[in-house]
């Protein structure tokens, strides 16, 4: 299991575009992806689940990946969030 804690800088937070991009990227990996926010947990491959976390701009999330490609998955997803969902 690998994990990373980071700030979501997108001005709106997890909304349709960002949640959609995150879920699509997460789905391209075999590893299970979980996103923790406050006391809530979401399936990182589910756009609906991510949106219902209610993460707003500048709030902290923790990404956890479990599985064969967990390191690459965590790396790619962390990049996606820190690059502010750019270039994807």
């Amino acid at each position: 299991m690998t994990q990373n804690t980071l700030i979501l800088n997108d001005p709106i937070g997890f909304h349709a575009r960002t949640a959609s991009l995150f879920a699509k990227t997460a789905s391209s990996f075999e590893a299970e992806v979980l996103v923790y926010f406050n006391d809530k947990k979401a399936n990182g491959k589910s756009m609906l689940s991510l949106m219902s976390l209610g993460v707003k701009s500048k709030q902290e999330i923790r990404i956890e990946t479990n599985g064969v490609d967990e390191a690459t998955a965590l790396d790619r997803l962390s990049n996606l969030v820190t690059s502010n969902f750019n270039d994807y």
């Binding site: 349709a16 960002t18 399936n43 491959k45 609906l48 219902s52 209610g54 707003k56 750019n86």
Partner: protein, 544 residues
């Protein structure tokens, strides 16, 4: 029978005549809660319904392609992703296994949970997504249980009358059969209104509830231009309306056809008629309406929805698709005019007392040079090597402003030369004349820029100290016209003496009472909303 008249507000204007067709709210969804024994077979049936719903969403997207911007079409992609959501599917299955209830019942429960949890977050953006989830769940269930509320099968032109019409319903109707829409509810800026406008279908909203009592099939006239909906019109009115519609159609088609050619006065004088645009869709309209080029590309409008900083490639891609689809002529692209009245999705701006006189346009762009102006300038410089473009700088107040922005553009050219080893030529750089200090003292600025474009909306608001967004002050804009004429005339004379051009790109440019005056003054181009181009060109052809 006497006329019966209803009033409302026009959300998309037009005049049409057709029988009305009432759309009732869909019959309440009936979801049986029976238990099942073969979970797999039942779930398969449900999955089939989901697949059909996805195809449906895809067909909505297709039917809106070319009518909506790409960014708006993305909504349909989000729908597709929601319909395939792994968590939604997994939890539905778990619900079935636990309760042995049928799939559609389980799916309704699970999707409603998501809708409720989004609503609980109390965020208007996510609440709209909750509505989307409910709409999609209903679609799947109606398809799966054969309870579809179909309104697509009628075979003649009709005016649709309903309490409320969702975008989803609207997109299922064959467009050729939809003459107009009358709604009891609805807003001027909701998605249904945006779609109706995009499709060119007249839409009247906010009509009295009693309108729903009218018999289905009643013949009616929808004149949303004058906010009226008339039931069972008299023979005379029908004849009159038929004539009006015919005249309008002939007139407009004629005017539009003629607009494809350059317009000359009877004595052979002319000036360029160009278009103001803010999106690629408008570029298409500009071409259709006979624009001789884009006279003002309001680049900030194309990026208003953008949630991330703009990259050089974002800029390049947008302008490139514009330039390649409208080639062979010169286009004028204005640098970003963001400001606290045109907020950015990706950057927080401080609140200002007087945003129109605050840190906007270049004042903002230069303060955030790396993220706002630099990528745009670099993209424009690269494009200028392949296309004939001019760079227009907004909100220039002083000669210092003018010198500063030109220096920044030069610096980028130097960067290309020394860092990227590319020799680029400097495209023409012009300034907006929209601040009185510039308009009054042309001689100070004429040497500093390659061309000049009067932004009459802002110039009038600053001349009259009258906020252009305040409807109660609109009378001042009429009074500003003689002053504007004097300023343009003076500027134009001095610019022409050194061989530089002056154009007008505010609303004033389309005022046909002044078209002749503009030609007399030697204005080189008028740039206006695409829809006004045919009218102004017609005016020119009537002048001596």
């Amino acid at each position: 029978m006497s006329d019966l008249e209803y009033h409302g507000r026009s959300a998309s204007s037009g005049l049409v005549m057709a029988p009305l067709r009432k759309i009732y709210p869909a019959k309440a969804l009936y979801i049986p809660d029976h238990l099942i024994s073969d979970v797999e077979a039942d779930f398969m049936r449900f999955k089939e319904a989901v697949d059909k719903a996805r195809l449906r969403v895809d067909s909505w997207k297709d039917s809106m392609r070319g009518k909506l911007e790409e960014s708006e079409l993305a909504l349909y992609e989000a729908y597709d992703q929601m319909l395939q959501d792994p968590e939604l599917m997994k939890q539905t299955k778990e619900f079935i296994q636990k309760t042995k209830k049928n799939s559609f019942f389980a799916f309704q429960r699970v999707s409603e949970q998501y809708a409720l949890s989004l609503l609980a977050l109390d965020d208007p953006y996510l609440s709209a997504r909750a509505d989307d989830i409910r709409m999609l769940a209903e679609l799947v269930i109606r398809i799966g249980l054969g309870q579809e509320h179909s309104i697509e099968d009628w075979n003649e032109q009709a005016i649709l009358l309903a309490h409320h019409l969702s975008t989803q319903q609207l997109s299922t109707i064959k467009q050729e059969n939809l003459a107009g829409i009358v709604l009891v509810e609805g807003g001027l800026t909701d998605h249904t209104a945006i779609l109706a406008k995009a499709m060119g279908i007249p839409l009247l909203i906010g009509v009295d509830d009693n309108v729903m009592k009218i018999a289905d099939g009643s013949f009616s006239i929808l004149d949303s231009e004058s906010n009226r909906f008339i039931i069972n019109p008299s023979k005379e009115l029908i004849q009159l309306t038929r004539a009006q519609i015919k005249e309008k159609r002939i007139h407009w088609e004629e005017v539009k056809n003629q607009a494809q050619a350059k317009a000359y006065t009877k004595s052979g004088r002319t000036l360029a008629i160009e278009a103001n645009v803010g999106s690629l869709l408008e570029v298409e309209h500009a071409k259709e309406n006979g624009a001789e080029g884009i006279g003002l590309f309001r680049t900030e409008l194309a990026f208003l929805q953008q949630q991330k900083p703009l990259s050089e490639e974002d800029h390049f891609a947008l302008y490139e698709s514009m330039l390649s689809s409208f080639s062979g002529v010169t286009h004028t692209i204005r640098l970003l005019d963001f400001g606290s009245d045109k907020p950015l999705g990706f950057m927080e701006l401080p609140k200002e007392e007087n945003p129109s006189m605050g840190i906007r346009a270049l004042r903002l762009g230069i303060r955030n040079y790396e993220s706002l102006l630099k990528p745009q300038i670099r993209a424009l410089l690269r494009l200028s090597q392949h296309y004939s473009i001019r760079i227009l700088c907004p909100m220039i107040a002083s000669t210092k402003d003018c010198i500063e922005i030109k220096q920044l553009i030069k610096n980028e050219l130097e960067d290309f030369r020394y860092q990227d080893r590319i020799e680029l030529a400097m495209p023409p750089v012009g300034i907006m004349v929209e601040i009185p200090n510039v308009a009054i003292r042309p001689y100070e600025f004429i040497e500093l820029a390659d061309f000049f474009s009067f932004g009459t909306n802002d110039l009038a608001q600053f001349l009259m100290a009258a906020d252009r967004l305040n409807g109660q002050l609109s009378v001042y804009f009429e009074d500003a016209k003689p002053t504007l004429i004097e300023l343009i005339e003076n500027f134009s004379r001095q610019a022409k003496a050194v061989g530089k051009s002056v154009s007008i790109c505010g609303e004033f440019a389309a005022d046909t009472n002044y078209t002749e005056k503009f030609i007399d003054m030697g204005v080189s181009a008028l740039s206006m909303a695409p829809v006004q181009i045919p009218i102004v060109k017609k005016k020119i052809s009537e002048l001596c």
